[in-house]
Symmetry: C2
Subunit: 353 residues, 2 copies
């Protein structure tokens, strides 16, 4: 079929058919001003008959409000960021906003990724959008978004807590809580499988871990090797270990924990008998791992909802309020257990491939 022949109906078409001016139709949609009940009914009938849908591009041109919010996601959509997106999109629908999305691949060089982010921001500004939500941010991204802030409000979900930051997000306690759980079970040699350092969440969780360890007067042990948030990265981190001298591990997220557990099992070590492990996210699969994974359940959908509301607020009032923190309950499952004497980990240094 040739590129659409019938022109889509405009507000003028509707107005003509109802026998009023376009202004009345505009009022019908905006709710501002007076439209009699009778006229309202006749408009509704014509709208339905013609299949009229107002053209947002036209409206926003004059109104200087597009009702569109840009959502920037860094890296592939994992369970968490996908959930955030779901939360955002539910809230957006509720408040009549449209969501424009862009994804930036962080696994390039630092310069390339910054260039990508800049392009994505321009993409949003071109739309144009009323606000930008940065779903997951990378370290060093602040300057890119600072430029965008001169045009539209920017809500950064994972900006690091800094006093100069306009949003001043409260520090998340995920890393601290997870580590505390392990310490309360009696573990003393608690390691942290750190997520990709380029992401702010990974840095936050590491900071929480370090704080909990310092408070307890214990030596931290950070396991490196994760280049992204997926299970193979956790496996790679496990493969790097040639000796194992911890009795508990706090993994940056559930995926990393799974990959890590899987490789340790290959070396004859199982949780919770041989070591304890706790993750973050509580993705739906985590409860079905073997063993079921103790983890911190982050209410990502709620985060998305809060972020969208914050963006709408910023659009309407220009006021940036710090994002409240969603609930983050610890879900205790079978992967963690109290430290027992004679726990093999830390004594044997098995070296299997």
């Amino acid at each position: 079929m040739p590129p659409r022949t019938t022109r889509r109906p405009s507000m003028a078409d509707v107005a003509r058919r109802v026998g009023v001016s376009t202004q009345t139709i505009s009022r019908y949609y905006s709710g501002q001003g007076y439209v009699s009940e009778e006229t309202r009914v006749r408009i509704a009938a014509v709208v339905d008959e013609l299949g009229y849908v107002p053209n947002r591009a036209a409206g926003s041109l004059r109104a200087r409000r597009t009702g569109t919010i840009g959502v920037l996601n860094v890296g592939e959509l994992n369970w968490g960021s996908a959930q955030i997106l779901s939360g955002l999109s539910a809230a957006a629908r509720a408040s009549g906003q449209a969501l424009l999305i862009a994804e930036v691949d962080p696994d390039q060089g630092a310069e390339e990724w910054r260039e990508h982010a800049r392009a994505a921001v321009d993409h949003f500004l071109a739309a144009p959008v009323d606000a930008i939500i940065v779903s997951t941010a990378m370290q060093g991204s602040e300057e890119v978004f600072a430029a965008a802030r001169e045009r539209v409000p920017v809500v950064n979900l994972s900006a690091r807590p800094r006093s100069e930051d306009p949003e001043r997000p409260l520090p998340s306690s995920v890393g601290y809580d997870a580590t505390r759980h392990l310490l309360e079970l009696g573990h003393r040699r608690v390691a942290h499988l750190v997520g990709p350092r380029t992401r702010n969440e990974a840095l936050d969780r590491e900071a929480g871990y370090l704080r909990a360890m310092a408070e307890a007067g214990l030596e931290p042990q950070v396991l490196e090797g994760a280049t992204d948030w997926w299970a193979p990265s956790g496996a790679a981190a496990a493969d790097r270990l040639d000796s194992i001298d911890f009795t508990a591990v706090f993994a940056g997220n559930d995926e990393l924990a799974l990959g890590f557990m899987s490789r340790l099992e290959g070396r004859g070590l199982r949780a919770p008998e041989d070591y304890s492990i706790v993750g973050v996210d509580d993705m739906p699969t985590a409860a079905f791992f073997s063993p079921p994974l103790t983890t911190i359940a982050i209410d990502f959908a709620q985060i998305g909802k809060l972020a969208l509301e914050a963006a709408v607020q910023a659009i309407e009032t220009g006021e940036h309020r710090p994002l409240p923190i969603a609930e983050q309950p610890l879900r205790i499952r079978a992967s963690t257990a109290p430290l027992r004497f004679g726990q093999p980990v830390g004594h044997t240094a098995s070296t299997t491939s």
Copy 2:
């Protein structure tokens, strides 16, 4: 800060400063018509200086092309649909398109969900978008999109193969291939853990399974109980079994397989010793399940790319080509093994909770 005070620069601002007409700036961006190299350089300098970004809403008004494509997703973003979205967004960036997204919750009544879908489509048409991509469709959604088709091209990624369907997607062979693998291992009592019947993918896979079983002259056995694609649904399906009389299972996706395996393990049955199981998706965690899951790897990112290209083609030429099928290799891991005599499943009917 008060709601932005400085007006964003317009094309006229740039033109004035360069000393040309807006038309020349327009030509600079569109590449249509002649702009001398010298002028080009001066425009670039001013654009950079003012931080000018063309307003797509304004341009599209006259050009009747918004460069925006709507992506409708049905249900929460699971691994597959998130990957499709990633593929779409990468391809969109490459071709300069913007992606508008909306999510529709299918777990309402059939009437409610149809109403939601209609609202989402209107949302897209309001933008307006140049095309709509339906990432995962539900049964019975065709009529909703048929209405949208009168306005813009609609690419439906999971429309069921029907001769009347303008896109006539080729039937996917996922269900058939997975079942064949189990049959080739010697299994005869092969069950299918069917996905949520409301989704077309679930129906397609079931059809493939039934075809393979019929070809082999075997009695099919469909395990019901999954209301979504997540692991808890797989567990629920396992909980419904009071006797187990199969030696192999083809699960609708990896998540379902995981939930199912986890519950059977609670009943003392492990793959591949006691039964074989194969999933679909090859999500990154699947290789780290215990046992690592044999599964069909769907190249979702590729699907997204193809879909976006098809949409762009339809926009430009009005021509709907059927989507080529992405590769779907079988990844053989430890969850499937040849049928052995004396395999316990099918003999014992354990009833543990």
